[in-house]
Symmetry: D2
Subunit: 305 residues, 4 copies
C-alpha cells in the first residue's frame, strides 16, 4: 500500500470540512489554535514513517494523556485500579457528573475525565510528589524523545477555568474515591493534559500498543500482552466519549482523542497513527481528525473488523 | 389550648424514639452532639412562650439558615434571584448533582444546598466582604438577640470535609451561575451553617413569617406579605429535602430542618415553633423533631389543611 | 367579601391571557374544546354560591378524577395503598417513566399518572368489574348530582392514543405493582378521566375536603379528618405535576388540575373553587385557570400561608 | 492450532462455574432449561468444524436474533434505520426506559430491546404480514438449514409476561418511533426471539459476518463489506448490554448474547463461534458462555486487539 499517496488523498478530501467544527472553548488558551492546521503521521512496526501537514507542530495532548497514565497505573497498581475505575462505555458526555453520582463516585472507565483523575490519584499514591515527573519520563521513554514538556500557560488556564473537573474531583473525594489531597492530584492532572507533542511523537508513542505491549525498536516490554490488548479494547469502546460507538462504527480502530485536536489510533500488529486538527465536532473530538481516520480505513481496509 | 400540657405529653411520647436515628456524620464535629438532647419552644404572636427540654442549649442551625438568607436576598435582589434559583420541589436528596447537571446549573429551589449557595452568592454580590456580617446582623434583628455568633470549629470542619458542597459550587461556577470567587462564597455559606442558636431564639426568629412578614413586637415589616407567604409555601413544598411531601402530609405546617438537629415551623397568623434533637432519620431530618411536630399538630389540630 | 365583584374583576383581568397557551393535543378529542371558554365557581361551606362564565358547560375532568379515586381507595384500602404509592412530589413531568424505573415501579404520588393508575388498580381489586360504577357513584354522592357520566368519544380517543399510559401500566406490571389485568385497569382509568362535569358540580364535589372530610350539607363523614387533611396536603405538594411548587408559591391553596382545562381548589374550613379554561401552559395546567386562582388569593388574601 | 484440544480444555476449565449464575426468569418458559447444558461450536471460513457438548440441542436464540434482523433491515432500509436507531453503547441495562425517555424515543443502538423492536418495525413496514416469514427465511439462508422454526410455547410465554417490552414499544409509539400497529410488531419480535437453533447452526449463520459480508460457501454477498464491518463494530461496542465493555475487555471479539443462554462471536477473516449454557450472570449474559470465550481468546490469541 502506498501510504504517501493515501495521505495526500486524505489531505485533499478533508479540505471541504475546514469550515465546520469549533475550537475548544472551555479554557481560553485552547481558542488560540490555528483553525487551518492539519497533520497526520503513520509509523509502522517495521519503522516506515509517513507524514503530511504540520507534523512538527506541537499541541497540547489533553485527554490523549489518559492512555499513558492508565498504562502506567495498570502496570504498577492494577488490582486497586480495577476496583476504583470501571471499563464500560459511559453512554454520556465526557464530563458527566450524573453517572458518577448514581454510581457513588466510581467512574465508568479511565478515559472519561473522572476516571482519568482517579488514575492520576493512583499514580500520586505511588510516586508522591514525583507523579508528574514520572508521567513525563514515561512519555519520553515511549516516544523516544527527550524534549517533551508541558505548557505553563495552558496549565494555568486549566487551573483557573476547570471548574467542572474541580466538581468531579470533589464529588469523588466525597465518596472517598480520591486518596490524596485534591490540589496535588488536580495539578498533576492538568499538567499531564498540558503536555505538548506533535503527531510524529504521538504516533511513535503508541507503537507499543500496536505491538502487544512491546516497544518494536528497543524490544522493551512496556506492558504485558494481555494488558496491552485490554487498553486497545478500552480505546475502542470508550476512547471518544459519547461518540465512541460512532468512531468504532466509522473508523474501526482503537483510538483516543483529546480536545486539543489530536487523535491517536492503532492498527494492531501493524502501525500507529496520529492526526491533528484543532476544530472539534459536537462530541468534543477533532472533526477533521475523525474524518481523516475514517478515510484512512476506508481506503486501506485496515479496520479491525 | 394548654400548650404546657401538650409539650409535656409530647416529651413523654417521643421517649421511645431515642433509640432510633443517627447523628449526622458528614462532618466530624456534628458527631459530638448529645444523642439524648431534646428541646421544643413555642412562641405565639401575642408573646406567649412555652418551652420544654434544653431550650437554652445552642446547636448549629445548618440548613435552617437558608430561610433567613433567602429572606434577605429576596428583599434586595428578587428579580435576579428568581432567574437563578427555581421554586419547585427537587424530588431528590438535598445534595443531588444530577438534577443540577440536567438543568444546567440552575438549582430547583433555595432550600437545597445548591440553591442556598446561589442565594449566598447573591448576598455576596450585594454586600461584598460584609456578606456574613450582614447575615449575622439579620439573625440578631429577627431573634431580638445580640449574642449570636458562629462556631469556629464547626466552620473549620465544614471547610475541611464539605467536598460535596465544593462539587456543587464548582459545577454551578462551570455553568456561570456563581458570580463571585468560589472561596468567598463557600466560606460565607459554611459560616452561616455554623451559626449557633437555641430553640427559644430560633422560634423567636421565625415569628415574622408567621405574621405575614411583620415582626409582631417591633411592628417592623421585615419582608412584604406576599413574599412572606411565598417563603412559607417554599418551606412547605421544599423544606425537608426529599421528605418534604411526607412532612407536609404528616405535620401540615411550613417548616425547615437542619442536619444539626433543629427544625423550625410556623402556624400562620398564630405562632412559631422550634424543636431540637440531634439524631436524624434517613432523609437527614431530625427524627424526634419530626415526630414531635407531628404529635403537636395531631393534638392541637393546628395544621394549615 | 363580595365574591361576585371579585369574580367579575378576575374575568376582566384574565382577558389578555386568552392569546396564550395551547389546547391539550395528546389525544385528538381534546383539541376540539372552545379556546375562549372560561368559567369559575365558588361554593362556601354555608352554601353560598357564586358563578361566572360558562359554569354549566361540561368538560372532561381528566386528572381531577385522581382526587376522588384516591379518596375512595384511601378509605377502603389505605394500608396497601401506602405501600404501593408514595406521597412525595415527583420533580418531573406528569408522565415520567424515568422516576418509575429508578424506583422500581413505585410511583412517587397518587396524582401523577402512574400513581393514579395504581390507585385504580386498588379499586379494581376491591370492586372487580364494578370499579368504574363505584367511582361514578362516588362522584354522584359528593356532587349531589345524579346526572353524571363519561364521554364515550373521549374514552375511545384515550384508548387509541394513550400510548404513554400503556407504557406506564406495563412497566408497573413488570414490577408486579399492578395486580389486575392491564386492560381492565386501563379502561377504568380512561373512563374516569372521561367523566364530564361543569365547574358548579366540581366545586360542589370538593366541599367535603374543605370541611375536614364531612359533607357540609348531608353531614356525612366522607373520609376522616386526618385523611382529608392529608389529601389536601398532597394536592398542595403534588397537584400540578412539575409546576406544583409554582402553584403553591403563587396561589397558596391545595388544588388539582386536569388537562381537560379544569382546576379544583379548596380553602380549608371555608369553601371550594373550580375554574375552567381549556388552553394549557407548558406544564399541562390550565393557563387562565392558574392565573384566575392566583388573582383570587391575591384579592381575597385566602391563601393557607 | 488444535481446536479440538482447546475445546476440551475449555470444557474442563469451565466445570467449576456450573454452580454459579441463574437461569433467566423473566419469562416462565426459560426456567425450564437444563442448568448443566454446555455446547461450543467453531466453524472456520475454510469449512473446518469443531464442536463440543450438546451442540445439537436447540435453544431459543432470543437477542441473538437482533443481529440478523438488523442485517436484514440495514440492507433494505438503511437510510431510515439510521435516523431511528443510534449506534452508541447505552451504558445501561438492556431494558432501560430511562435513556429512551431522555432521548425522546430514539433507542441508543439496535442491540438493546428498544432498538431491536424499532428494527422489527422497519421490517414490518417493508414486508407487512410476511415480516416474520422473511426473518425466518433469512435465518434459513444464512444457516444453510431448512429445519428452523420458533417455539410456540416460548412465544406465548413472552406475549403473556413481556410487560417490559410492551412498555418500551408503547413509549416509542408515543414518540411516533413505531409506525405499525403495536400488536403486529411485538408479535413478530417475540417470534424472532423464540426461534430455536443449536450452536452448530448459529455458528454457521455468523460466517458471513466473519467474511466481510459474503457467505464463504455459496459466495453470495449477504451484505456489503462496509456494512458487515459496522455490524461487527456494533456487536463489539453494544452486543452485551451494560457488560459490553467488559466483554470487549476480556474476550476481545465482536459478539452477541441472548438470555436463552447462547452467545455468538466472530473472528474477522477467520471463523465464527457459538457457545451455549443457560445460566446467566448479573448482566443477563451466559456466565459460562462468556467464560468459555474468554478462555478461547486467551488460549488462541485470536482477539482483534
Amino acid at each position: 500500500m502506498d501510504f504517501n499517496t493515501i495521505l495526500q488523498e486524505i489531505q485533499e478530501e478533508i479540505q471541504k470540512y475546514f469550515t465546520k467544527g469549533k475550537l475548544a472553548n472551555y479554557i481560553p488558551m485552547l481558542t488560540q489554535a490555528n483553525e487551518s492546521d492539519f497533520a497526520m503521521s503513520i509509523i509502522t512496526l517495521d519503522n516506515e514513517e509517513h507524514h503530511i501537514g504540520c507534523s512538527d507542530k506541537k499541541f497540547s495532548i489533553q485527554s490523549i494523556s489518559k492512555v499513558f497514565t492508565f498504562t502506567l497505573a495498570l502496570e504498577y497498581y492494577s488490582k486497586e485500579l480495577y476496583k476504583r475505575v470501571g471499563h464500560e462505555p459511559s453512554g454520556n458526555p465526557f464530563n458527566s457528573l450524573v453517572q458518577l453520582e448514581y454510581e457513588s463516585g466510581t467512574p465508568r472507565n479511565p478515559f472519561i475525565n473522572a476516571g482519568a483523575i482517579v488514575t492520576t490519584d493512583c499514580l500520586t499514591s505511588i510516586y508522591k510528589n514525583n507523579a508528574f515527573d514520572e508521567i513525563l519520563a514515561f512519555m519520553k521513554k515511549v516516544s523516544h524523545e527527550e524534549n517533551i514538556t508541558y505548557d505553563e500557560d495552558i496549565f494555568i488556564s486549566e487551573l483557573g477555568h476547570g471548574f467542572h473537573n474541580f466538581a468531579l474531583i470533589n464529588l469523588m473525594k466525597s465518596y472517598q474515591n480520591i486518596k490524596n489531597p485534591i490540589d496535588d492530584v488536580i495539578q498533576t492532572y492538568f499538567k499531564q493534559c498540558s503536555i505538548m507533542m506533535n503527531t510524529k511523537q504521538l504516533a511513535h508513542s503508541m507503537l507499543f500498543l500496536a505491538n502487544h505491549g512491546k516497544d518494536p525498536f528497543t524490544k522493551e516490554q512496556i506492558i504485558n500482552e494481555s494488558k496491552a490488548k485490554r487498553i486497545n479494547s478500552l480505546m475502542l469502546t470508550c476512547g471518544h466519549y459519547d461518540a465512541s460507538g460512532d468512531f468504532a462504527y466509522r473508523v474501526g480502530l482503537p483510538g483516543k482523542s483529546g480536545v486539543g485536536g489530536g487523535i491517536v489510533a492503532v492498527v494492531p500488529k501493524k502501525m500507529a497513527i496520529c492526526v491533528y486538527s484543532p476544530k472539534l465536532n459536537v462530541h468534543g473530538n477533532s472533526l477533521i481528525g475523525t474524518k481523516a481516520l475514517e478515510l484512512f480505513t476506508t481506503k486501506t481496509g485496515l479496520s479491525i473488523f
